[in-house]
Structures are given as C-alpha cells and as structure tokens.
Amino acid sequence: MSTHVDGSPCRLADLTPDSLRNTVVRKEKLSPVLTLLEINAPLIARSARAGQFVMVWSGEHSERIPLTLSDWNADKGTITIIFQEVGRGTMELGRFDIGQDIPSISGPLGHPTEIENYGTAVVIGGGVGTAIARPVALAMKNAGNHVITIIGAREKSLIILEDEMRAIADEQFITTDDGSYGRKGLVTDALKDIMDAQKVNIVVAIGPLPMMRFVAKTTEPYGVKTIVSLDPIMIDGTGMCGGCRVTVGGKTMFTCVDGPDFDAHQVDWDELKSRKAFYFDEEKAARESLTAGGAK
C-alpha cells in the first residue's frame, strides 16, 4: 500500500484501489476451529477503538457477517480478527491465505466500549470472545482501572490469548467446563468469588449468549454495572435494515448503530436467543453445502 514515510496511510484524496486491498498479511490457526487473520486495512486501523466491529463479505455468494476487532495497528495499517469457523461465513473466511485479498471489509462499526476509570473492572472472555475482550481489558487498564480478567471455555484447547491477557491484567482467572485447564466450572463461579471478596465497579462480558446471560444474572444481585457485546444476525451493519433489532430496557435498539455494547441487565435475552436461532435450518444447510462444494 502507499504510505507516507511515517507509515500513516496516504491522504484520502490520494487513495488508490491498491491501497485499499484487504490483503491477508498473517494467518494463524489458534486451535482446530479458531483462526486469526491480520489484514491490511489502513483506514479502519486508523479509526478503530475497543468494542467496534467490521462487516466482512468473502465473495459473491457469501453472507455479510459482523466480526468484532481483536486488534489493530494504525502504524502498520492492519486489523486483526479472530473467529471460530462455525458457520458458512466464517468457514469461507478461514479459507483465505496470506497474500490473498478479502473482497469486502468495512468499518469500524458500532460505538466503542465506554472506557473510563471505573475503579475495579472485571473483563470476561468466553471462548472466542476472549479475542474481543483483550482490547477492552487493555483500554480499561490504560484508563487506570484495576483489571481482573476471566477467561472461560469448554475445554483447554479453546482457551486463547492467555499470555496476552495476563500481560494486561492485575489478576487473571481461567475456568473450563470440563476442568481440563484452570478451575473446573463456569466464568460465573470465578466472578462470584471475586465479587464476594472485593468491590467490583464494572463487569464487561464478551462471549456466547448463554455465558453473557448468566454473567448478567450473577452480577444483578450485587448491583454491579454489567456490559455485554451482542452479536445478533446483521446484514448491512450500518443501521439500514434493522435485522439486528434487540429489546433493551423495553426499547427497540439496532445493535449495529446503538450498540453493540448494552447494559446486560436490560437485555431481553429470550428474544435475542430466538432471533439468533431463526435461520438455524437454513444456516446448517448453507454450512453443509459449503463442505459439499457450494450451493445452499
């Protein structure tokens, strides 16, 4: 890409199509199902903040999918996404190799996570959600918080970024459902112990819907402000379609432009769950057809 000598991307009036190619510059398999891609995206890297996402489209027949940023580097002009290859969109994305261009990435979208010095902040990453929790933990640390991190997963191989999170955190806890690593149990078990032992000012939880929901349930009796990052079905990601509607505090919100962070105690979790599951059969068929060679 064309850059100034200081490494910053060229002026907007001098942009060229080449400077905006979303070329993969690094690819790592973090586990059999978890993939990391670092991608050239200088304009997004310049504007990105913790908690924001990008919309990714892998080609003519693909869906647009939202992925929250795991990292970004304005100097290098790159962004990093970590994703679990569970649906057709993420499986297609996982097929891109170093040197290849991803057809469409746009962002950064959504409001950044509200970062301030709350005092003690617990940042929870569940499974691949840890990838998104890391920049939030870092921003919380940089804002002066005492940062406690909890990483949870079903089993050991799904624990990611342990060292990177530990480097940020003042304290770190790890839980696995099956006890294959860290404490046997759920992130909420560790969270409860922390809240029993000390004053916690804010909890940020990012992970699968059931985990975020149970974190909300766990913190509610303690009256601790709890923020979750929602990932409903989206299409455009810019507020145009309302497919990502979610009820928060009795009001309809568009996750893409009003979120993706919301007050966990106000979210209508049942509604979110059913909206996310609506295309279960169609998504399964699309996934299977990809492995079988194309059509849905």
Binding site: S106, V257, A277, F278
Partner: protein, 470 residues
C-alpha cells in the same frame, strides 16, 4: 396511428408467469412502437413537459430525434442532463412529472415520455459503436479540484456524473460492497434489471469517476477528514437508511422484517437463490404493512420468492395508498390481496418466538388530516386476527444517523434530515453539500437525482468562486 391516437401501451410479461420469476416485467417498446409513440408528440414550442422534469431533459428535442430514427442522438440529448436515462425511463413516476404537463394529457393520453427515454437509452447501449457522446470537459483546469461524493445511489451518481462531465476529479465513497445504493438494495430486479444498473454505473465511471466501496463515512473517517485531506468539496448523498417500525408489541418476533431488510436480503444478497448463502425462510403467508412503492416491491418480491399468499395491510383506503397507480395495479394483477382500513395493533408469536399472526383493528375514514388524506379512525371492538408467518413493515424511512451524529456543525431537522440551502444544496458547513433522501427522507429516485443536479451546480459555483475561476 400516431398523432391524435391513443398512447402505445407497454408490453408486459404475463402476470401469472412473471409473479414467479425475477425477469423484468415491462418489456420495452419495439422500434416501431417507439417511432409511433414519438410521432404523437406535438413538439410544443413552450415545452411544458420540461418543467416537470427534475433533471431538465430537453424532452421535445430528444423525441424529435427519435421521430427521425436518430436514437443515439436522442440518448445523447438525454445524457446531457441525465446520466442515468435507462434507470429513469424505468422507475420515474412520469405521470407526476413530465407527462403531467403534456398538452395531449389534457384531453387524452400524454406522450409516454418515460417509455421513449427507456427505448433511447437501451437502443444506444445495444448499438454502442462509437455513437456515444464523449462529453470532453471544456475546463481541464477543473481537474485539479477534487470532489468527494458520499453514497453511490441516484443522488451521488448524478452529482458525480455532472461534475465529471465538466472536468472535476470525482471520487464516490459507497458504504456497501456493491454500488448503486437504493437502486441495488431497494429496487427489485424485475423493475430495474441488474445489467441496466451495472451499465449506468459503468457509464458514470467511464466519465472518469472513481468509486470506492466499503467506506462508511462517519465511521471509517469523517466528513471533515475529507475536507482536511485534499477534497475541495463533499456531497453527502447517504440516503434514507433508517427504517420506521410500527412500535407495537411483538414487533421484534422472528419473521418480522423492515422493508429494507427484506429487500436487502433479496435484492443485494440474493437470498432467494440457491447458490447464495444469505438465508430467507420460505414464507407461506406474508403480510406487508404499508402501501407505498416500497411496500409494493416487498409484496411482489415475496410472491417471486414463493409465498403462497401475500397481503397488503393498510390502515387507510385505496384512494389514500401512496404507491404509484401502476405499481398497485401490477401487484394486484400478480395476485396480491389488499386488506384495507386495517391497522395492526399487536403481533402474536409462537413458542419459538416467531410471528404467527397479528391482531388488527378495523378502521373507518374520518375527516382529512394534515396530509389532506382522510384520517383513519378505529372501529371500537373490531379486533380480529390475521394468521401469517412473515411480516414486512414498509412504512418508509428516516435518514441514516451515521453522518448526522459524527459531523460537527452539521445542522439537521429535528427528524434527522440534513438542512441545506435549496438553491445550492450547501449545508451549514461551507464546502459540504447534501441532497436526496438524506435531506428529504424517503422520496423518489428522480427527486434525489434532481437534488444531485442542484448540488452539482452548487459545488461548481462554490469551487469557482473560491478559486477565482471564471
């Protein structure tokens, strides 16, 4: 027949057949029909039709060339002031514009100006051997001035085309991964085939316009960044991108879509086609709430996807429906049912949280309201249920908030529309112009193009004055 005879009708695909495919409904005039229709034009010296055209096409001039079989010449006359003739010929509500002022319309049928425009544009595209006007810019010095256009919809394409024709260097930034804005995600291909849209976008690019997709102005960078980083002026044509919902209980049940979501899934993401990954549930009974043009597009798209039954649910009466008469007729012929004077008050869900019906109230018409239409009033105790597995709420849209909320100093209406000087298109920020649905809320393609023309002239004037160019 020609002079004095009735207007030539538009050949269409058979209603039963077309309701099951996405091919274009209106088939276009043959050359003979086009010539015959052109002959009907009286070539009035006062050109009353032109006053009805938001983009000032010299209609009698192009129709006159058509009479002489100079179809390329006719297309070039149109393209002088309109960069998107094949689109306008298809989607403009001509009955409220040029054709409304046609002298023949006073006693009989107006000249079918839109159909002639379409014929000329399509003829030129099909016979393009060196016959296109080149629009060589007269002021090469203007190439030093750069204009950024936000959005590649009808307003943005018009601004870009007009400014490129007089020599400016123009860059369009489009938020989605494909160009065209509402022309692609909103208007179904059976009204505007993708090949036509692609061709018109290519034409604007051939004038020297660069288009970057995947750039969300307001998020990827801000409007002010454009002015600080080398652009001399910015046009905001970001469209109406925030769907209005009903705000009644149960509206977030699964299976309830905004018109935009429904159309985007199908028109942009092609969810109805096997090889495309974006999902759509095969609907049985689709209820579309609203009766505007978008609502009609939703109903007709639902039929083509395979819905067994499609019903328009509208709280006013037939006379009050805001859609074009032609679109209402098309929907009706294809089998759409109209449930009028019916107002949904609540959605009913199944055990999985998916919509299975809606509770409605019967309405009756009372006194005229502020819009001049008779106000619908609920009939007490008239609650009844309609069973359906898909609901599309097509009540129109508000402007997208992304630019409004991220641009310091941009004055907007309380409902979100960007405020502009009507004569120049300039906003409260010097050098920043706006037009189309971002200013007016959801309107028509042609009104957005008209606003684009005004803004293009405004931008030209602004840059010339600022830099002392005559």
């Amino acid at each position: 027949m020609a002079k004095g005879g009735p207007r030539n009708s538009m050949p269409q695909q058979d209603a039963a057949a077309r309701a099951k495919n996405f091919d274009e409904v209106a088939l276009g005039y043959s050359e003979a029909t086009a010539l015959d229709e052109a002959e009907r034009c009286l070539n009035c010296k006062t050109k009353p039709c032109v006053q009805g055209c938001p983009v000032n096409i010299d209609i009698p001039a192009f129709v006159d060339l058509m009479k002489q079989k100079d179809f390329a010449g006719a297309a070039n006359v149109i393209k002088k002031t309109n960069s998107l003739p094949a689109i306008c010929g298809r989607v403009c509500p001509q009955e409220n514009q040029c054709e409304k002022f046609c002298v023949l319309g006073k006693k009989g049928d107006a000249v079918a100006v839109g159909r002639l425009e379409r014929f000329a544009a399509d003829w030129q595209a099909a016979n393009s051997n060196g016959s296109k006007a080149s629009f060589k810019p007269e002021h090469s010095e203007l190439a030093n001035y750069k204009v950024a256009v936000v959005g590649s919809g009808p307003a943005g394409l018009t601004v870009a085309g007009d400014l490129a024709k007089i020599g400016y260097t123009v860059t369009i930034f489009e938020a989605l991964h494909k160009t065209g804005g509402v022309l692609r995600y909103g208007i179904p291909e059976f009204r505007l085939p993708r090949t036509i849209l692609d061709r018109e976008v290519e034409y604007v690019k051939s004038l020297g316009v660069t288009i970057f997709t995947d750039i969300i102005v307001g998020r990827t960078f801000k409007v002010e960044d454009l002015l600080e980083q080398g652009f001399d002026a910015v046009f905001v044509g970001s469209g109406a991108g925030a769907p209005k919902m009903l705000g009644i209980p149960g509206e977030n049940l699964s299976g309830i879509y905004s018109g935009n979501e429904w159309l985007t899934r199908i028109n942009l993401m092609r969810a109805h086609r096997r090889e495309y990954a974006t999902p759509i549930r095969m609907p049985k009974h689709v209820c579309v709430v609203g009766a505007g043009n978008t609502a009609m597009d939703c109903t007709r798209t639902a039929l083509r996807v395979g819905a067994e039954k499609v019903t328009i649910v509208y709280r006013r009466g037939r006379e009050e429906m805001p859609a074009r008469g032609e679109e209402i007729e098309n929907a009706e012929h294809e089998g759409v049912v109209f449930k009028l004077l019916t107002n949904p008050v609540k959605f009913i869900g199944d055990e999985k949280g998916a919509v299975k019906g809606m509770e409605c109230l019967q309405m009756e018409l009372g006194e005229p309201d502020a819009s001049g239409r008779r106000r619908p009033v609920a009939v007490q105790g008239s609650e009844f249920e309609i069973e359906c597995d898909t609901v599309i709420v097509a009540l129109g849209q508000n402007p997208n908030p992304l630019i409004r909320t991220t641009t310091d100093g941009l004055t907007c209406q309380s409902w979100g529309g960007i405020c502009i000087n009507e004569e120049t298109g300039m906003t409260s920020i010097p050098g920043v112009f706006a037009g189309g649905d971002a200013v007016t809320g959801e309107a028509t393609v042609i009104s957005a193009m008209g606003a684009g023309k005004v803004a293009a002239a405004g931008i030209d004037g602004y840059i010339r004055e600022k830099h002392g160019i005559s």
